[in-house]
């Protein structure tokens, strides 16, 4: 009994320390966005919301976020479609050359992204595509589609293919079987694939920096500003991202709860 309490205590301390290490940096960024100082300080001595006034008031902020959002949104959408079919080829069907395909698709993940970005820029120039946020979408896809394919493949591996056969056998057409059985069964994988794609694209710097051209994403701006002249707008933008994520997650959760309640009411 004595030793058990001791172990529990140790686990609690360990967990606390890890959480502290993980969250103190994020916490310090958020507090310094509320600081008065022109410099990054922790802990904050004097508080102010002037950086929020400045950041939220600037057209730049909207432009950067819109660009990032367009890129990440397009990447998530296209990556999930490609990744879905890629995952079916990866995990669902047995075909000659599947093993080679499984290896081949991993290559872009291991290629250093900065080099990949440069290579893509050269390639875009060669085929006459001007660097822009649209070009960046393709650059991101090269790196993100393989990852999304893997994420969705995990779900596909857990799918009993006999369910599709059962659907045909019960009178479903190929399309009906897909819509009624395959798609809903794989939906959790598609959702996490989309989430991965969006987040990886949103936070990507090395590929964006080579391929967005005149357009700039939030991440690019943050990197550039940190190199060329720090402003507290940097932590402010970071903090805004965190708040945005909290609002989206909480809103999504509420939406799911409302949906479930509505479905239950309809069922009765």
């Amino acid at each position: 009994m004595e030793s058990k309490r001791w172990v529990i205590w140790l686990i609690a301390v360990w967990t606390g320390v890890i959480a502290l290490f993980l969250y103190i940096p994020i916490f310090s960024v958020i507090t310094s966005s509320f600081g008065k100082s022109r410099y990054f300080r922790f802990p904050v001595k004097a508080w102010s919301d002037k950086w929020y006034d400045q950041t939220l008031g600037a057209n730049l902020t909207t432009d950067l976020h819109l660009t990032s959002f367009y890129v990440a949104g397009c990447v998530a959408l296209i990556a999930v479609v490609l990744g879905f079919f890629g995952a079916l080829a990866f995990a669902r069907y047995n075909w000659r050359g599947r093993q080679f395909y499984q290896r081949l698709i991993m290559l872009p993940i291991f290629f250093p992204q900065a080099v990949l970005g440069l290579a893509l820029l050269l390639w875009f120039t060669y085929v006459g595509v001007l660097p822009s946020w649209e070009a960046a979408v393709f650059a991101h896809l090269v790196w993100i589609v393989p990852i999304v394919t893997l994420v969705i493949s995990i779900q596909v591996y857990g799918f009993d293919a006999a369910q599709e056969e059962a659907a045909y056998d019960l009178g479903a057409s190929r399309w009906q079987a897909f819509r009624e059985v395959t798609l809903p069964a794989l939906a959790p994988g598609l959702f996490s694939g989309a989430l991965f794609a969006f987040l990886l694209s949103w936070g990507n710097f090395p590929l964006s920096t080579f391929t967005t051209g005149a357009d700039s994403t939030v991440t690019e701006w943050l990197y550039t500003k940190m190199g060329s002249g720090y402003t507290p707008m940097i932590p402010t933008m970071g903090a805004l991202s965190v708040f945005g994520a909290i609002v989206i997650l909480f809103g999504g959760y509420m939406f799911l709860i409302v949906q479930r309640r509505r479905r239950l009411e309809r069922g009765d």
Binding site: D160, A162, Q163, E165, A166, A167, Y168, D169, L170, G171, A172, S173, Q176, E180, V181, P184, A185, A187, G267
Partner: protein
């Protein structure tokens, strides 16, 4: 019973995967309302045969007729048949009700009609009504079986196919479900085609049984016929523990057993029988006090005994091989291990089979 035209006919049905012949020249008629079971070890081609009948696999050669209509090229979703899969293949993201009503939804029936039919089917397979909105992932093994059954019955198919649905179920529940399935066959009056690797399971449920070995249907008959007159050694041994003795046709109608250098009285000989095996079931073997008590006897010693509940099984070692004797508990052998014993049988309780 009137011998009507068969509901399902297979003519020289063959399926090849590359060089492997999974199903080899199977010809079989299945009668309307029959419970037909195909039994075979794994790899005997029984699942492939069933998948061809259900339309999930196309035959390489031969034909399938459903009520005199050739259905070789008709896909699964246009055949009036339904399959209960080995994995059950329930739709895990759907509720019990949604699973059962799937085929009705595909047909575009109204929500209310579907619900009504769904609930009545749940009643047929003895699922409580409040399971309607339960997720199938929260159901127990037996409940999942019932959902799969109800789902297959929903579209009112002419024939139900079963691909070893009970193989992953524990013994007691399996016995219960076997009986329920046979009762369901009676109440619905539908044609059931069932496959299993367990002849015991087939015996309990079937009107007729077909035994498959290496892609061929080697014997078709009622459970009694298969039990009493197995066509070859494979069939006889497939039924569980039997005593087999290698024998040759001897002069004056007897059969010679070289291993024991003895002549035994012979049961009915298959045409042109020269050499093969004499098969004696464990329950037909008796302990003898005197050789005169049976037509044939062998001397051995009692090696071990096993209580099987209502029966007791004995292993008797004789002439380098082990014989199995089974007695009702009330008729148990009173003695001890290593006793010298006499075991014997009459010709009428034995069968001659070839390889």
């Amino acid at each position: 019973m009137v011998d009507a035209a068969p509901i399902l006919r297979m003519v020289s049905l063959t399926k090849q995967f590359g060089r492997l012949v999974a199903v080899n020249d199977v010809t079989l008629d299945i009668q309307e309302g029959e419970f037909f079971t195909i039994v075979g070890p794994s790899g005997s081609g029984k699942t492939t045969l069933l998948r061809m009948l259900g339309g999930l696999e196309k035959p390489t050669a031969g034909d399938i007729y459903l009520r005199d209509e050739r259905v070789n090229q008709v896909p699964a979703n246009r055949r009036p048949t339904c399959m209960v899969f080995q994995s059950l293949a329930l739709f895990n993201h759907k509720t019990v009700g949604q699973n059962i009503e799937f085929s009705l939804k595909m047909r575009g029936e109204s929500r209310r009609a579907r619900r009504e039919r769904g609930l009545s089917l749940m009643n047929v397979v003895q699922l409580p009504e409040d399971y309607y909105d339960k997720s199938v992932t929260k159901c127990s093994g037996g409940e999942r079986q019932r959902v799969a059954l109800a789902r297959a019955l929903a579209s009112d198919p002419d024939i139900l196919f079963f691909d070893e649905p009970l193989s992953a179920i524990d013994y007691r529940l399996r016995k219960l479900l076997e009986v329920e399935l046979k009762d369901l066959h009676r109440t619905t009056g539908k044609t059931f085609v069932y496959i299993t690797h367990s002849l015991e399971e087939a015996m309990v449920m079937s009107d007729r049984i077909g035994i498959m070995q290496e892609g061929r249907l080697i014997q078709i008959g009622s459970p009694n016929e298969i039990y009493l007159r197995p066509r070859n050694k494979f069939v006889s041994e497939f039924m569980g523990e039997v005593n087999t003795l290698a024998v040759q046709a001897g002069a004056d109608g007897g059969i010679d057993c070289p291993a024991f250098e003895r002549r035994f009285t012979s049961p009915a000989r298959p045409d042109g029988f020269a050499n093969g095996y004499l098969v004696i079931r464990p329950e037909s073997m008796r302990f003898l006090n005197d050789p005169s008590e049976a037509e044939n006897h062998i001397e051995g010693s009692l090696f071990n005994e096993y209580a099987l509940g209502s029966r007791v099984q004995y292993h008797v070692s004789a002439g380098g091989s082990m014989f199995v004797v089974e007695k009702l508990r009330e008729q148990a052998y009173r003695g001890s291990l290593n006793d010298d014993v006499l075991i014997g049988w009459d010709a009428k309780d034995s069968v001659l089979v070839t390889d």
